[in-house]
């Protein structure tokens, strides 16, 4: 009868008490927490997926994060009838069972569970290792990132899953009673403050590894958006954000600029952040690394590039292209003629968007490339799986945040304007005077500048909500389902909790009006 007590005999399967026997094995566990953001499963091509009920490739965290941040905005629209959740996001007309929303929701909580488990086991089995505190801090950073996305997309009523909760049959309570509130916000804030010292300092880390500046950036963004998340504006949070942004701007990162140009470059300095060799960029504070050979996934950057390209663009993107995403005329019109950042593919496309379901209505975007800066192919190049890292936080974002914080607390100064002009100068476009900026409306101008600098980088939906332009006051193609755009219901500022989780967890309640 003792035969009935089995232990895994598979060479790749073990139990926590056996597997966590070294610093290397702990690092492997931590790397899974990182990988969970950009790869869908345990096998290449998102095989052996981490979450169930979705196509492996579509289940990738960053793929759906990207879709949810970009498709409901003026930056990106999708034309795939076969993936109806994407046109639905593009029209701002999603229902509670939209597959993209459901995927991101479960991915977020998968990451939280994964980070919790890592921290739990590392404390038990990694107590003797020197690197354990650093690894636990990184896992907590990644958990805070996931919780920030939970707060940003789903609000304050999401499940509260803590490290000490363990695994199995329990029903997590809600963080807070209402969609907008303090509970989750306060939790993330305290976590990011607590881990600060255990993380590596700026530049002491690998590309793709979180450091102190990344944690500051995440906290600064939390503070910047506090009014949305907490439901009320408190100037103190802007002041806290200012301190952090100032730290970030002086932490040793710098914009890639004219001095970085090399012979043979096929791209401008701005684009050095988006090529297959973007790991050399001094501007990226935090990135998820992607390698076309070692981290093959249909989500992450492979999706961002292929979905946004067609076969006709292959020469410039280095990917086959699946013809799904392109941009609206509203984004195109924000640029002046000479801006290095206006990277459009226009051949065979029209700028205006008459048909949502036609990929050639709206310009193609050539921002990302699966090619090196000189257009050579990276080692192990393929036209499917890409080598370009995903920039999560860039220094220019912090510069624009500095300007915005001034604008929100007493007004933009010359110093703040200089941050905007630094960004614009690098892009070879005109510098602005304070008067010009004020003439356009300072906040409106900053919102537009953020679009110009950061489009297709996963910031837009959060920005539009923070600036109060997401629901009404600004229209773009197919907003509300009509070609010219129309205002939409307030509820779209938050995403619905998937009914499957409301069903599985009676402690939860749906977000307003879904």
């Amino acid at each position: 009868l003792s035969h009935l007590d089995v232990e895994p005999i598979d060479e790749n399967l073990s139990t926590a008490d056996k597997v966590y026997d070294s610093e290397e094995s702990l690092q492997s566990g931590l790397n899974k927490v990182y990988a969970g953001f950009v790869i869908g499963g345990n096998a290449q091509g998102d095989g052996d997926p981490d979450v169930a009920g979705f196509d492996g490739g579509k289940s990738v965290y960053w793929r759906q994060f990207f879709n949810l941040q970009e498709l409901p905005t003026d930056e990106m629209k999708n034309a795939w009838a076969g993936d109806p959740e994407l046109p639905e996001l593009s029209r701002l007309a999603w229902g509670s069972s939209n597959a993209s929303i459901r995927t991101l929701y479960y991915r977020i909580f998968y990451q939280i569970t994964l980070a919790n488990e890592f921290a739990r086991q590392a404390k038990v089995y990694g107590g003797d290792f020197e690197e354990t505190p650093r690894m636990i801090a990184e896992a907590r950073f990644l958990r805070a990132l996931a919780y920030t996305h939970a707060l940003d997309f789903f609000g304050n009523k999401v499940p509260k899953v803590m490290e000490e909760d363990g695994v199995g049959a329990f029903l997590p309570p809600q963080f807070g009673e209402s969609e907008r509130g303090t509970e989750l916000f306060d939790h993330i804030e305290s976590e990011l403050i607590a881990i600060q010292d255990d993380l590596l300092p700026a530049k002491a880390n690998y590309v793709g590894q979180a450091n102190q500046v990344a944690a500051k950036m995440l906290l600064a963004k939390l503070y910047l958006n506090h009014a949305v998340y907490r439901g009320a504006e408190e100037i103190a949070y802007f002041e806290k954000a200012k301190v952090l942004v100032n730290d970030i701007l002086t932490s040793g990162y710098r914009l890639m600029g004219a001095s970085d140009a090399q012979a043979g470059d096929q791209v401008s300095p701005y684009e050095l952040n988006f090529t297959a060799d973007n790991y050399t960029s001094d501007e990226i504070i935090f990135a998820f690394t992607v390698d076309g050979k070692y981290s093959q996934s249909w989500g992450g950057m492979t999706f961002i590039m292929n979905a946004g390209a067609s076969a006709a663009m292959k020469e410039f993107t280095g990917v086959d292209g699946w013809g799904g995403n392109r941009t609206t005329p509203m984004l195109v019109d924000k640029f002046e003629d000479n801006d290095d950042r206006a990277l459009w593919f226009t051949e065979g496309h029209q700028k205006e968007m008459d048909e949502l379901m036609s990929f050639t209505d709206g310009y193609g975007v050539l921002k990302y490339k699966n090619l090196n800066r000189d257009f050579s192919k990276p080692q192990d190049h393929s036209f499917v799986f890409v080598h370009t890292d995903i920039p999560v936080f860039r220094l220019s974002d912090a510069m624009l945040m500095a300007a915005e914080l001034e604008a929100r607390t007493g007004g933009l100064t010359a110093e703040g304007l200089e941050w905007i002009n630094t960004v614009r100068r690098r892009a070879n476009t005109s510098e602005k005077t304070l008067a010009e900026v004020q003439a356009e409306g300072t906040l409106d101008f900053i919102l537009d500048e953020r679009a110009r600098e950061l489009y297709w980088e996963g910031h837009r939906r959060t920005d539009l909500i923070r600036f109060g332009k997401f629901i009404d006051g600004y229209q773009w193609s197919f907003k509300g389902g009509v070609a010219e755009g129309t205002s939409v219901n307030q509820r779209y500022e938050l995403m619905p909790i998937p009914p499957s989780d409301l069903n599985a967890n009676p402690n939860l309640t749906q977000n307003f009006d879904y």
Binding site: L13, N42, A81, V161
Partner: protein
């Protein structure tokens, strides 16, 4: 007479019969014969008649008179001997059967081009649905007994071959695990349906049990049997796609009418007329030879041995299965007849060539205006678009895709049945068995397979090898004690069973190679990865049968199963069953009714279980999996040097990932309760015989992968025991001997099945808003589902938008009924619409023989089964030229529905697929006493898949799961055969 008497009971050969019951008529007093057939009895005054009875023999009454010593010879009851039915761990007289058991023997098997055992009985038994997965040679089949009692766990029945439960969960490189058994070797095919029959198999019995026995040798002379067949298969029907000319007209018109915009499509059209479907299919010839020798070695060891060879070719070009089977049964009786030995070895060796079935879909999508071949860089090559999104050239897919496997499988066991000397009523039975399979396979894809690789850019082919070894071991031991007391008989049995299932897969690296030049590996796409798993099942079981006056029968069984797949707390499951039988014909009130020749009522109740959780052996505790290479997270410094570590061999390595896996420590058995009532009848001297049954099944704690609270586990869906399902059914069977004269014999069989399956619970927490679990993924989009499990509905009910039609009855592109009238079309407007499983199934067969001629035919009808035509739904005008870089064909249905874009969620594509299929027609002629006395021969010819009557507009209405897509057509097969016996 008063006083002691003694005697001896002998069988028909004059051998002593032990264990014979001798009862003094009118009393409960009696005795049993000892091992030498002797008995002794003390009689009182007036006790002068003895009733002598023994299983399998005709009971006799003996008048005592003045005799004190008797020699009584019993005659075998031929009728009863024939009517023994195999059941779990033993056999039982059909008259004594209390459960729902249906048996088909060799004489009644389906005829013709049979390559797999399940084809022998398709349509012969009510409540048993067998759907082969398509027309591929040796294709697998879905067998459903009473509809299947699980939702997500396996619905496959347990299959037992000569006492060895065999793994039915698939063998790598083998299309159908049952193909190990040569159909020619099969003697009986028995299906146990209700819980009182199956509960002896406890935790694996919820979906019924199939017991297959093979032919054995017998005492007497040597018999040699040869059976040979040649068959010709040909596809019967193609999917209706446009031909070249229609395509050219359609494309031109569609652009003129503005249905699609000309994005360069017109310029891409060719001037060929290629029927891609007729290019990929062929008329295939198959052969089958079997030789068997049966007899007895030195009159002591009955044996039967056989060799079979079949070469089976599919209608898809290049598809082939070559099978060699060997079988040996040795059944000696030793130790003065006390020990019966049953040794059985079956071995099959298969060589498979798998044609690339992707060509089936490509042939539908490939532009018919393009030629087969084209010129490229001065070379004649298969036409290709050179675009990764374009349809592949199906001929290139067939030609340059080489997928083959070699599989060997051995099923063998030794069964010892020992009758104790001191107590002949007591028997011990030991069964030791082995089921072992070894597969080796290789897949090579040539780079010229026209963009068949995802990463076509590599410009290279791929090569991958795999092998698998599965070893399942069995040990059963049971004791049985049978006795008669007066008018009572009882029989009790108790046993122990141990099984170990082990599987090891070695999957070689998939590498890009420059085929056909074979310049060696250029680049590895996936690393070699081994996989190994095991589980144990330990069981205790028992059964008691009691019979009073041969009229009242009771059977009780109990099994306790322990599985290593569950934690110590949940490991053991107890599965009881109880059944009653009432031989009404033997009651006084029916004895006189001549029209009724047999009538028996049966009622049973039992609990069975299910533990097949998709091969997951460790789902009840936390495990960590090492991530595979190429699913790594590689950090690097700004010079591009990756984060590495030094392994124990001193080598620098990139980190792999380590993932905690989801688990459920509360996992336990799925349980099915079954209530069954049945009536077995015989009318007009058994001219009409049959069965009528009704049952109700309820499965609780379904093993189900369901949504768990986000954040509570390492996946959003975890296997657990959630949900209930209910099945109600009626089954009817009748065999009629219509004419039974010396020269002419004509019989007919009909059976009918009604099945009603409903989901009664789906979630742990009740919720009215929960619409259900989507299933039935369709081609045309990722994550698009056409079916749903909803409480109150049949499992897999279609769940789609209701199509809106114009005044002429034509569907309007993309317009659906807004069910809740909120002005939006979303998932709340999806409606439940029909189910894929048939509601009524009917089987019909007839046999006719006139002198030396024989004729037989069998067919089946399914009613109320609906099919979603995914071939039609995935076709629309805008599929012709989606990007302007290539063309694709569309289905003729588009000309009818005029859909400009694909409408995957329209109920327009769900159609009634009720059908009648004439499965086979066969004629034969017997030649007796050929070339002297001893040689008999039979020539026969048959047609399989003769015709199908249906309203369904796709290629074939019989689609397991109800989603019609990329379906391998079932061919019509003509067979000519010869059997010779001497």
């Amino acid at each position: 007479q008063e006083g002691a008497i003694s005697g001896r009971v002998l069988d028909e050969m004059g051998e002593p019969l032990p264990g014979v019951s001798i009862v003094i008529k009118g009393t409960t007093k009696g005795a049993a014969t000892d091992f030498d057939g002797n008995f002794q009895l003390l009689l009182n005054q007036g006790e002068d008649v003895l009733t002598v009875s023994y299983i399998g023999y005709i009971s006799t009454e003996v008048v005592v008179g003045n005799q004190t010593n008797f020699t009584i010879q019993l005659k075998p009851d031929v009728d009863q001997l024939e009517e023994v039915v195999v059941i779990g761990y033993g056999s039982v007289k059909k008259d004594d059967l209390t459960g729902s058991v249906q048996s088909v023997t060799a004489a009644d098997f389906n005829q013709g081009a049979i390559t797999s055992p399940q084809e022998l009985v398709n349509g012969k038994m009510p409540g048993v649905q067998i759907v082969n997965s398509g027309g591929a040679p040796g294709a697998g089949a879905t067998i459903r007994i009473r509809g299947g009692s699980s939702l997500n766990a396996s619905n496959d029945p347990l299959i037992i071959i000569d006492g060895v439960p065999v793994a039915n969960d698939g063998v790598n490189g083998m299309r159908n695990p049952l193909n190990t058994i040569n159909p020619n070797d099969i003697e009986t095919f028995t299906v146990l349906k209700d819980a009182s029959a199956t509960a002896i198999y406890g935790s694996r019995a919820s979906n019924g049990v199939i017991i297959i026995t093979t032919k054995k040798g017998s005492q007497g002379g040597l018999t040699v049997d040869y059976a040979g067949k040649v068959s010709v298969s040909t596809p019967t029907k193609f999917v209706d796609v446009l031909d070249g000319d229609t395509y050219r007209n359609t494309l031109t018109n569609a652009i003129e009418q503005g249905l699609i915009t000309d994005n360069g499509a017109l310029g891409l059209m060719g001037d060929a007329n290629t029927d891609w479907q007729s290019q990929i299919y062929r008329t295939a010839v198959s052969t089958d030879h079997n030789v068997s020798v049966a007899g007895s070695i030195a009159d002591a060891v009955p044996f039967r041995t056989s060799v079979g060879y079949s070469n089976n070719n599919g209608v898809l070009k290049g598809d082939q299965v070559e099978r060699t089977t060997l079988a040996l049964n040795l059944t000696p009786t030793l130790l003065n007849e006390r020990l019966k030995v049953n040794t059985s070895i079956k071995y099959a060796h298969l060589n498979n060539k798998f044609a690339n079935q992707g060509a089936i879909g490509s042939a539908l999508a490939m532009d018919p205006t393009q030629p087969i071949m084209m010129e490229q860089d001065g070379e004649e090559v298969f036409f290709n678009w050179g675009n990764v999104l374009a349809p592949r050239n199906p001929l290139a897919q067939l030609e340059y895709h080489d997928d083959r496997s070699t599989v060997g499988r051995l099923i063998g066991n030794v069964q010892l049945d020992y009758k104790f000397h001191f107590l002949p009523e007591l028997k011990a039975n030991l069964n030791v068995g082995l089921d072992r399979s070894t597969s080796n396979g290789e897949v090579q894809v040539d780079k010229r397979a026209s963009y068949d690789n995802v990463i076509a850019e590599m410009g290279s082919g791929t090569y991958k090898a795999y092998n698998q070894v599965k070893t399942n071991k069995l040990l059963d031991f049971y004791m049985q004690y049978a006795r008669e007391f007066g008018e009572s008989r009882f029989d009790v049995m108790a046993g122990y069973s141990y099984q170990h299932f082990h599987r090891r897969d070695e999957n070689g690296a998939e590498i890009f190679v420059d085929l056909p030049e074979s310049a060696g590996a250029e680049r590895i796409r996936s690393e070699a990865r081994n996989y190994e798993t095991e589980n144990y099942l330990i069981s205790f079981f028992g059964r008691a049968n009691y019979s009073l006056k041969d009229k009242y029968l009771v059977t009780a069984t109990l099994r306790q199963d322990g599985s290593s797949r569950f934690s110590a707390e949940n490991r053991w499951g107890l599965f009881p069953a109880l059944a009653f039988g009432w031989n009404m014909k033997k009651e006084g009130f029916l004895e006189m009714v001549e029209q009724i020749s047999a009538l028996k009522f049966r009622a049973g109740y039992g609990v069975t279980g299910q533990q097949d959780i998709f091969g997951q052996d460790y789902a009840h505790f936390g495990t960590y999996s090492t991530g595979q290479p190429y699913a790594q997270y590689v950090m690097m410094d700004q010079n591009g040097n990756p984060q590495t570590y030094i392994d124990e061999n001193g080598e620098e390595q990139l980190y792999l990932t380590l993932r905690p896996n989801a688990y459920n420590s509360n996992l336990k058995w799925e349980e099915t309760e079954t209530y069954n009532i049945g009536l077995d009848y015989g009318l007009f001297d058994d001219r009409f015989t049959g069965t009528l049954e009704a049952y109700y099944k309820k499965s609780n704690d379904l093993l189900n992968v369901t949504d768990v609270a986000a954040g509570s586990n390492f996946s959003n869906r975890v296997i657990g025991n959630v949900g209930n399902i209910e099945i109600k059914g009626l089954e009817f069977a009748m065999d009629a001997k219509l004419v039974t004269t010396e020269d002419l014999f004509w019989s007919m069989g009909i059976n009918a099945t009604y099945t009603d399956r409903k989901v009664t619970q789906l979630t742990a927490v009740d919720s009215e808003n929960f619409i259900g679990v989507f299933t039935g993924g369709v081609a045309g989009g990722t994550g698009v589902y056409s079916q749903i499990h909803t409480v109150g509905q049949a499992p897999n009910t279609f769940f789609l938008y209701q199509q809106v039609y114009d005044e002429n009855g034509n569907p309007i592109n993309g317009m659906y009924v807004d069910q809740n009238g909120d002005g939006k079309l979303n998932e709340q407007d999806l409606v439940h619409f029909k189910q894929p499983a048939p509601i009524v199934m009917i089987g019909l067969n007839t046999n006719l023989s006139y002198k030396k001629f024989e004729f037989s035919a069998s067919g089946r009808a399914n009613l109320g089964n609906y099919v979603y035509n995914n071939i039609h739904s995935n076709s629309a005008y805008n599929g012709i030229s989606p990007t302007g870089d290539f063309l694709a064909n569309i289905n003729e249905s588009v000309l009818e529905n005029n859909f400009t874009s694909i409408q995957l969620l329209s109920d327009y594509f769900v159609r009634d697929a009720s059908f009648f299929r004439l499965d086979n027609v066969s004629v034969g002629y017997n030649i007796e006493s050929l070339l002297g006395e001893k040689v008999n021969a039979r020539v026969h010819g048959s047609v399989n898949n003769v015709f199908v009557l249906t309203k369904y507009d796709g290629m074939d209405p019989e689609i397991s799961g109800g989603i019609d897509n990329n379906f391998y057509p079932r061919p019509r097969t003509y067979t000519l055969g010869l059997n010779v016996t001497f």
